[in-house]
Amino acid sequence: MSQLIPPAIIPYVMPLVYAVVIVAVLPLMAGYIVLLERKVMADMQARLGPMRVGPHGLLQPIADAVKLLLKEDIIPNDADRFMFYVAPLVSVTMALLAYAAMPFGPAFQIADLNVGLLFILAVSSLGIYGIVLGGWASNSHYSLLGALRSAAQLVSYETAAGLGLVSALLLAGSLSMKDIVQAQADQGVWFILVAPIGFFVYLVGSIAETNRAPFDLPEAESELVAGYMTEYSGFRWSLYFLAEYANMIIVAGIATTLFLGGWLRPFPRLHQHLIGTSLELLDALPSLIFIAIALYCFRLAPRQPVRIQKLVMAAAGGLCLLLAGAMAGSLFASPAVMQGVHGGFWFMVKVMAYLYAFLWIRFTFPRYRFDQLMRLGWRFLIPLALVNVMGVGTAIVLQQLWGWDPRGAELVTLAATIGVALLLAHEDEKPASQPLAEGE
Amino acid sequence: MANDPSEKVPPSQPPEGKAEGAPVSPKAAAPAAAAPPKAGAPPPPKVVTAAPIPLDNELVQRLEAHFGEAIREATLDRKQAIVLIAAEKLREIARYCRDEEKFDMLVDLTAVDWPKREKRFDLILILYSFAKNERLRLKAHAGENERVPSSVEIWPAANWLERECYDMFGIVFEGHPNLRRILLPDEWEGHPLRKNYDILKQDTAWVRENLGIESGQ
């Protein structure tokens, strides 16, 4: 390799490969998250969801993508054309750029910045310009209102979400994504167990930041039609869509890295070896999961109505088997490869679990009103996050300076924080019950 | 329906008044051989009066005491009380009905067109009293170019109802805060529920201009 490529470029090769992989795979992943969303929604709403394109709708995302690309690209007459063109690009570029510092596995990371977390937060917060400018450029009032709501919402909730993250940062003592995961491995505990309030604040904040229900006011269908996307169609619209799902994966990735142990396997310190070998039992889990999915696919395959669907279903099963094989095979390869493959697997599993929580919340709750959303952000989440930061800080001080037992210190401060949370929630209810007429 | 308490009427009525109700069209005078309507129902409990009969209960007496000539006639049709009043006094009578007689809800306000009559419109107000669980129908005659007092200030509910009446019949309500068409477009010509407005008729000019088609039919 070193002969083929000039040495000056070598450090840029792997990141480039990773970047290409991410840019290529991400739209597909977004498509399949949409399918997942529709399937989960259908399951919760007592129906089937997409069933026609491919077996159980497995090819639906591809059909959707083709449809979107072929749609007419409509630009309103009075739109600011340049901005209208650029806005979706800004959104999607910023969303993709944030992946630069996202650690999908111990090896799979484009760049390990020492301010990695801040970088991701900064860049993903720039996506708001895509929304704001797009809403403005559309020259439609629904769009503009959606954009304004979006901007106000993002600025408010970024504060809360950021403060939620601080608790994990205090525990990790680093801004580098890799070091944060490493800190969790070293301390032998996921930070969600130490700072659950911080995780909760970030969960709520991240839902609001990605404009998902119950905070989807910028695109509230029943009020603003489609918010800032109202005037967009076809390809440009799908760029916004891609950006939204990319952002969802980013916030899920941040939460996974900071609170859920990143690419670490569950129980990273539990070493139950298979008798007589150095293989760990828990490492077999990914393979077993894939084998189970594969068997399920094979069982479903003969029941598909059309021949081609049978084939596709069987192919899906085969793909799962292949992945299971890869998972199992990597166990026998070098530790680095094994870590990489399994780390990626666990990272994605956690991201998906986080996204599932998003979907679950979306299909369960009604939508907030804008003033309620703001009240929740400023009066509840931000104070709570501040108290939580102080609580975690206190716990660390108690441990390090006064030599308290770590778990004891954490429990004490956690109890105090939860007390404050209840107090805040109680306070929050008072103005909510007042009639709206105070303005008159 | 046999036990409809709302339409309970004091028993002062003559059992079979043949006095013909003025509000009904001349045609009604020929009740013809209209099939005896009571026929058939397993329990035929009551004799249905085919024509309205005069009504003279306490309510009517009170009304007459207050408004004298303005109460033209009170009748009972299918056990439902109808009071024919003078259109000019509508507002006063309505207010009295609301405040003194506790007819606190205006259920409906509408009109009927009798083109052959001198004053072609019947303006009809259906009132309901929560306290008495009773309905009362006020009826007033109005001519084509006559202005009728609006009752919006008495029952805000009359707002849209009077607009609809104006829209459909062209009855102008004096004192209505916002008398515009409500169901039809503002520039529409004609008032569809008038009897001389044919069912196939439409404002072709409007349709052509605004919908870009020759006919809405």
Binding site: M41, M44, A46, R47, S140, H141, P214, A220, S222, E223, V225, T364, F365, P366, R367, Y368, R369, D371, Q372, A432, S433, P435, L436, G439 | M1, D4, V24, S25, A28, P31, A32, A34, A35, K38, A39, G40, A41, P42, V48, A50, A51, R78, M105, V107, D108, T110, V112, I126, F130, A157, W160, L161, M168, I182, L183, D186, P192, K195, I199, L211
Partner: protein
Amino acid sequence: MSDSRTNGSSEVVTTVLGADEIILNMGPQHPSTHGVLRVKLKLDGERVVESECIIGYLHRGVEKIAEHRSYQQFAPYVDRMDYVAAVSNGLGYCEAVEKLLGAEAPPRARVVRTILTELQRIASHLLWLGTHALDIGALTPVFYCFREREEILKIFEKYCGARLTTHAFRIGGLQYETYDGFEEEVKRFCVDFAQKIDEYETLLTENRIWVGRTKGVGILSAADAIALGVTGPVLRASGVKWDLRKAQPYAAYDQYEFDIPTREAGDTYDRYLVRMEEMRQSRRICLQAIEKIPTGPIMAKVGKVLKPPPGEVYHSIEAPKGELGYYIVSDGTTQPYRVRVRPPSFINLQAFDKMARGSLVADVVAIIGTIDIVLGEVDR
């Protein structure tokens, strides 16, 4: 304004009036105006200063058509007014004409009418609940509601062949005898439905966001409600215990025990609770009625050609949305001289301005939903 009536776009027309007042136009094509309602809002910032409903986009001249049809011919037309509660419309019309004729439906017909009308009330409320929740952003209840509504529509379909515009009743009684297994199906639905209502309530009633979005929103006092002629669940949520089924019983309602749910605050949340309780009461009525459907004829002898004696009648029933009245004038011929429909949606919608003033724009959607209007009935 008039010229834009034909302009069926959903764009928002904004004009800068004074310093802060803008005019926001919602509809007639908007996801949550429940059809073709158009609302013009005058806003001070996010707060509604004044509102105006512009209606008539669905006007079909039903009352005019009535004057050119015979009494029986007009019966299917009424189904097209409140098309989500067609059975109730039919009941009101048939009973009004029967009253005009002086006829009365036989007991069996009256009980079957009661059952079907109560099922229709449940179906109508379910549709309202689903769409109302959807407007406020709860995506899931609508599917649960439609699942149960589907069961009701299946019963309708089996009974008369139609699901939506049923034309289930005839003047004088019923055309069709109930099908085999009607009682069991209705009973099974009613028994199952109890826990379904609880399911909806689990999703919404104590949900903080739901309560936050509906409590104190669109308040209508009892006095205002009466002055504006508002009827139905909207009136009852304001604290007026008045239900035509109790006040002036029709069909077979005098035979059954049920409560009139009322609430005091008159806000969106109370209207929600009233309607939820009404579904329970409807279920209770159905269960009582299905136990003892009298035997006997289903049609009174009214004759093939209906010529009611001259005169006029007003008859009203408690439709799912409020008092549905028919004022019919007969001139002794086979065609009604005048049919006036007192549409509950139309009159309840008039209270919108009262409810919306001072509320936020986001509440407008909730308020439109809570009045439970059907534009087919508003515009006729």
